[in-house]
């Protein structure tokens, strides 16, 4: 490319100043505020609309290209069920096979333990820098914070994650972490933080990131990745991606650490023929992603690759989920992101509104389960239960059903909660009252008559269609309805009263 040299950034990644994120916490109960902010941001709305629709449409187009796609989904679900029913067996098999191939297995019950293990490995390696492949589970355990705190520089090498690291933000999507950023946003960010010559050309933008990252890959001594699948019968870690950065992070450095949630296990290599056909198609509409890395142990004599391979197996709430027979299904998730793209709520509020690392319908299950309902009790309610997520889930997780289960669990813990500021009584009391009324048809009829009477008295002096439409209701929950839309007034006569008339016809 002409003129490239004059614009080639002259920097090393070590001179880049990544924004530190403030001490991270689960902010899922702030979803109402964050959703409002997202809705008010026209720029974000357009980015979300176009990106989710593109991914959703690509999946729709990709699915009919495979004969028996629905059967593949059934098979994938069966395999996942088999794994979850015998996870202890398969985990042990996996761990034994990793060690048999020269890898080292570590067990981490919590995020803190996993971070400590990885810090320990870094200290043994004696490095102050770590390259990171895109991994949601490392976001889950806040690995970058732990590394930073130990003065170890962690560099995100996935383009989306790299952008977010520069911006000091969390991923907004499981598969496309910077989905909320437009090309112009990235151009501004790179101009401000890397190369003052601003460009919006995608090729130049990626060239800037590439240049920065290559230097880092060349000298990094330790790479950290996640895993898409962990094959029990061979002790193999499988990673899929489109950019090549995962392959780089896992093969160029001396030491590779794979951080693996224990639900990632699949029994056999042959099962990959099911999951690989589902995963990319569901996530991005691709037949396969550009790179599929199948890693079994460290390098052997005469081979390329890392000298040492560590596998950190993470629980962090997964075993507790396994114990809940209903919620167990949540662990079938292969993190394809299809439910996010299909979700009408995600499409409006984006990933950050969910307040933790996992967003969308699956995030509304995972976050309360891993971080606790106290911290994320609002999330299961952030769904219209439309079922679009279940329709696209490659392993057919019944997400609406699990959301209902969590709602019920959340309400069992809600006893004694204070009413909202705009409501006369709390939700539990109002539901008790409602149930008491609708169980008694005569009381129900009486209440409806009283409401009609009140409605007539309040609107009798008013003109126009005020008798048909209520523009502002004084108390919640109806007040929340009339904040943004009108409420039809009760009909002058109920159907049951009309019935007496039409039945005589």
């Amino acid at each position: 490319m002409n003129g490239e040299s004059e614009h080639t950034p002259k920097f090393l990644i070590s001179s880049l100043d990544f924004k530190r994120m403030s001490e991270v916490e689960v902010q899922s109960n702030e979803i109402h505020e964050r959703a409002k902010q997202a809705l008010a941001n026209a720029h974000l709305q357009e980015a979300l609309r176009s990106s989710t629709l593109r991914l959703y449409t690509k999946r729709l187009e990709a699915v009919p290209q495979v004969a028996g796609f629905e059967r593949l989904r059934d098979r994938a679900r069966e395999i996942k069920r088999e794994v979850m029913d015998h996870l202890d067996f398969y985990l042990e098999q996996f761990a034994n096979n990793v060690e048999r191939r020269g890898g080292k297995v570590h067990w981490a019950a919590t995020a803190e333990e996993a971070c400590a293990i990885i810090l320990g490995i870094a200290s043994d390696v004696g490095t102050r820098e770590v390259v990171k492949a895109k991994t949601m589970v490392s976001e889950e355990i806040e690995l970058n914070h732990a590394l930073e705190a130990a003065s170890i520089r962690a560099v995100e090498t996935d383009l989306g994650e790299f952008i977010l690291q520069l911006a000091g933000e969390r991923p907004a999507h499981i598969v496309a972490p910077a989905i909320h950023k437009t090309r112009a946003d990235v151009a501004d960010l790179f101009a401000a933080r890397i190369d003052p010559v601003r460009t919006e050309e995608p090729e130049r933008l990626t060239a800037i990131a590439r240049q920065a990252l290559r230097a880092m890959f060349a000298r990094a001594e330790m790479g950290v990745s996640g895993a898409n699948f962990a094959v029990a019968e061979t002790g193999t870690v499988v990673l899929i991606e489109n950019e090549g950065n995962i392959r780089f992070s896992t093969t160029a450095p001396r030491v590779h650490v794979a951080l693996v949630g224990i639900e990632k296990i699949i029994p056999r290599c042959g099962d990959l023929s099911v999951f690989l056909r589902l995963l990319a198609r569901s996530g991005t509409g691709q037949k396969l992603s550009s790179y599929t890395s199948i890693l079994t142990g460290p390098r052997r004599p005469g081979e390329d690759g890392p000298e040492a391979m560590h596998v950190v197996l993470l629980d962090n709430g997964r075993v507790a989920t396994l114990a809940d027979v209903k919620m167990r299904e949540m662990l079938y998730c292969i993190r394809c992101g299809a439910c996010l793209n299909a979700c009408p709520v995600y499409r409006k509020i984006g990933g950050h509104a969910y307040g933790w690392v996992y967003s969308g319908p699956i995030g509304a299950l995972v976050t309360p389960q891993f971080a606790g309902l106290e911290q994320a009790g609002e999330l299961p309610f952030a769904s219209s239960l439309c079922g679009a997520c279940r329709e696209v889930c490659p392993v057919r997780i019944n997400i609406p059903d699990l959301l209902l289960h969590l709602r019920s669990k959340a309400q069992r813990q809600s006893t004694g909660r204070k009413p909202a500021a705009d409501a006369p009584v709390n939700e539990r009391t109002s539901m008790h009252l409602w149930a008491w009324v609708v169980k008694r048809p005569r009381v129900y009829v009486l209440c409806a008559r009283l409401a009609r009477l009140a409605q007539r008295l309040l609107t009798s002096q008013r003109q126009g269609d005020i008798q048909k439409w209520i523009r502002r209701f004084p108390a919640a929950p109806a007040a929340r309805w009339t904040d943004g839309r009108d409420l039809p007034a009760l009909a002058p006569m109920s159907f049951r009263d009309r019935w007496k008339e039409i039945n005589g016809k």
Partner: protein, 245 residues
């Protein structure tokens, strides 16, 4: 009116009972024109869905228990709502999964319970109910009807049978309108934003009328339209099928 027709108990749903009685009247009219004998049990109130969807399972079960005994003698129970029909057909068996005697009743009710358009097409085998409605109409699939009961074609067949009608599809027509039961007041901003998108899609498709099979969706969409003073009109499928313009 023939006395040989099937006996149908109408499950009016609480929203139609109190807010949209004309939906019930029109449903009765359309069914009667097909020779159906319609009955109405005034002991009915609500199916229990508001509690169920908000996580109050105990309350939902109590309310649902009453419904199990309301329709003992009817051949069929028909509701002009995909959502309430899903509650009875899909979620009642779940609610009573651990109560074998009630589960039996729930399953018995489940087998006789139909949504209005489903009943016309699948049970009566009717696609032309003799309606005429010379307008451009967009049909909105309510999510429960679409994804719990998998009824997508039946309402469209009935609409295609209407004289003079021009049926248009909205872009991304399977997308939720944002009502979602108590979601509409728990996340009102998101609910309204979704409703606005749906109304826009109908307008862009050139529809004069936005038609659906659920009073909940319609109440929400009509509320959004009225707040914005738009010209788009909403109509329940039963109302449209009763028209002879």
């Amino acid at each position: 009116m023939g006395t040989q027709g099937p006996r149908v108990a109408l499950f009016i749903t609480c929203l139609a009972d109190q807010f949209f009685p004309q939906v019930g009247e029109c449903a009765v009219e359309v069914l009667r024109r097909q020779g159906v004998e319609v009955t109405f049990n005034p002991g009915q109130t609500c199916c229990g869905q508001p509690a169920f969807n908000t996580g109050f399972t105990v309350e939902a079960r109590e309310v649902a228990t009453r419904v199990l005994d309301l329709f003992g003698d009817a051949d069929y129970v028909v509701a002009p709502s995909g959502s309430c029909s899903s509650m009875v057909r899909v979620f009642y068996p779940e609610l009573f999964a651990h109560d074998s005697s009630r589960l039996k009743k729930a399953e018995q009710l489940q087998s006789r319970f139909f949504e209005f358009s489903e009943f016309l097409v699948k049970v009566l085998g009717v696609e032309d109910v003799g309606a005429s409605f010379p307008h451009r109409v967009a049909y909105h699939d309510s999510c429960h009807l679409l994804r719990e009961l998998h009824i997508e074609e039946e309402p469209r067949r009935l609409l295609r049978g209407v004289r003079g009608i021009e049926l248009v599809e909205m872009e991304d027509y399977r997308l939720c309108c944002g009502f979602g039961g108590t979601f509409s007041v728990k996340f009102p901003e998101v609910s309204v934003a979704m409703g606005q998108d749906k109304v826009q899609a109908a307008t862009r498709a050139g529809a004069e009328y936005l038609v659906a099979n659920d009073a909940g969706c319609l109440m929400h969409l009509a509320g959004v339209i009225h707040r914005q003073s738009l010209g788009l009109k909403t109509l329940h499928l039963a109302e449209l099928l009763a028209r002879r313009e």
